[in-house]
Amino acid sequence: MIEKAFNGDRNYWGWIVFLLVIISAGIYSYINQLTTGLTLTGMGRDVSWGVYIAQFTFLVGVAASAVMVVLPYYLHDYKAFGKIVIIGEFLAVTATIMCLLFILVDLGRPDRILNVMLYPTPNSMLFWDATVLTGYLLLNIVSGWTVLGAERKGVQPPKWVKPVIYLSIPWAVSIHTVTAFLYAGLPGRHLWLTAVLAPRFLASAFAAGPAILILVSFILKKTTGFDAGKQAINKLAVIVTYAAIINFFLLGMEFFTAFYSNIPSHMHGLQYLFFGLHGKGQLVPWMRVSMIVGLGSLVVLLIPKLRTSSKWLIMACIGIVVSIWIDKGVGLIIGGFVPSPLEEIVGYMPTLGEVSITFGIWAIGILLLTLLLKIAAAVKTQD
């Protein structure tokens, strides 16, 4: 099937070359980081995780969100998702690979990464996260590729793939729950120390992930003529709407608990992010944009007439993705480190090299997704 990825027009190859250029720049920056150290990033003693871990967190959500098409299609036999399910699975595959890459570039000693498996430590949530992510990657590659391969030959997929697909459903929930546990179980990091962190991770994932899926479907329709179907898109839009409502509801819970209880340590993180603390509020503009864009998009999604219009739906989906990317990919991780355990406020600004590596990994992911979807679209439109 792979040969289908190498059969494209000028625009397709132009796109591939463009991504390769960004990837090369990222690799160059990473080699610098490898030889000089993570000092080349904006991270420091107080804000010791930055954009890498933040992207990782966001992308675990994107990976998990495949379940929003897999579950209706395979468990409830919701036929309208028949064409989109492969896009969801391949999106999950690429997002998971990006997650693993973001963890890799964040390590001080990437050459020792296998220590996680050589000295398995069940009490560490990072051990579990590495385990469930690797498992999820395999589940999705196997199920996506097998089903697509069968379709190409015009036969039914083999029976053994069904249990693999069923297993991927709870597994999707597990990857994002365990990712939330990385943060939610740490004493003294009050922004993270909340029981709704995992539920909120899932809610934001099930909003942003399907929103990306809708956007990818529109792009595919335009570039390859492969149409996931109006009904599937509309259903996904409803899923995005509900998930976004639950996400903002849970965020409201955080605000209530922190501010009504009036416990300073519980308020500090939110104060720093949304209003500024002791006159310092580096992330305030970001968080406000996230709120305004997110709630604005939600209003658009809530109006059926707008939600079913392609133009409005595309804008609302972009809005939801941007809003949740800021929330998880900027605010949540960095905000967790401010104020520090010694109540100091230390800023964080990613460096050019760090941004270049980040773009590089995104480009690797988008390249991989492009190739996989090129194959999928070729198979799906062959008849």
Binding site: G37, T121, G336
Partner: protein
Amino acid sequence: MNENRREFIKKTGLGVLAGLGVASGIFPKSSFESAVASTTHEDSASGRRWGMVIDTRKCKDGCTKCIDACHEVHNVPDFDNIKDEIKWIWKSPYGNVFPGESAQFVSEETRERSYLALCNHCDNPPCVRACPTKATFKRDWDGIVAMDYHRCIGCRFCMAACPYGARSFNWRDPRPAIPKRSQAYPTRERGVVEKCNFCSERLAQGLQPACVAACPEGVLTFGDLNDPESEVRLLLEKNHTLQRRAELGTRPSVFYII
């Protein structure tokens, strides 16, 4: 399900329960109860538990002898910028070392003093829980929370987990920034986490930790918290002391007399 089978299971269950009840009467310290007792964590058990009492009343403002001694012995680099900074022991104001402790009307004297901060060698260390490779671990024979610099992958999960900001990461090669090379302790490489080790290398030679030995005022007292006759225990008996952020349940082994 078959009626007889259901009845059988019911009776077996009751029988097991009754048996356990009898057993718990015969063996008063059954494994049952020790499991319950260990969750309340009153006694951390056998062996030593190294600990420290810091008498902050005696600590002189502006004096950094303990810090200098520690950092020199352990080849701690000096980068002179907060981002790359590595520190094993340092001084910070009251509100920073004890966030959440009495915030109103703290006496000027208490406020103006600065307080030593270092790894607490917690009895229940969150960093050890978080580490995915056991590169940081608690020594069960003396309670020291130690590091294996050769196993650390540099994920910095322990830094996120430590509620005391006690851990530093080697963001760059530390060796060029070491002011005076010490032979007493190995240098570290770029890309790994480090922190205070309670001078385990000196304890092995029967010496006091470097900071304790360096203090001219007798601020620092080091000893076995599990020994009721030890000097640290006597100090704890005689004085009201604080542990940093005791509410987090980490059970720090460093105590402060304010």
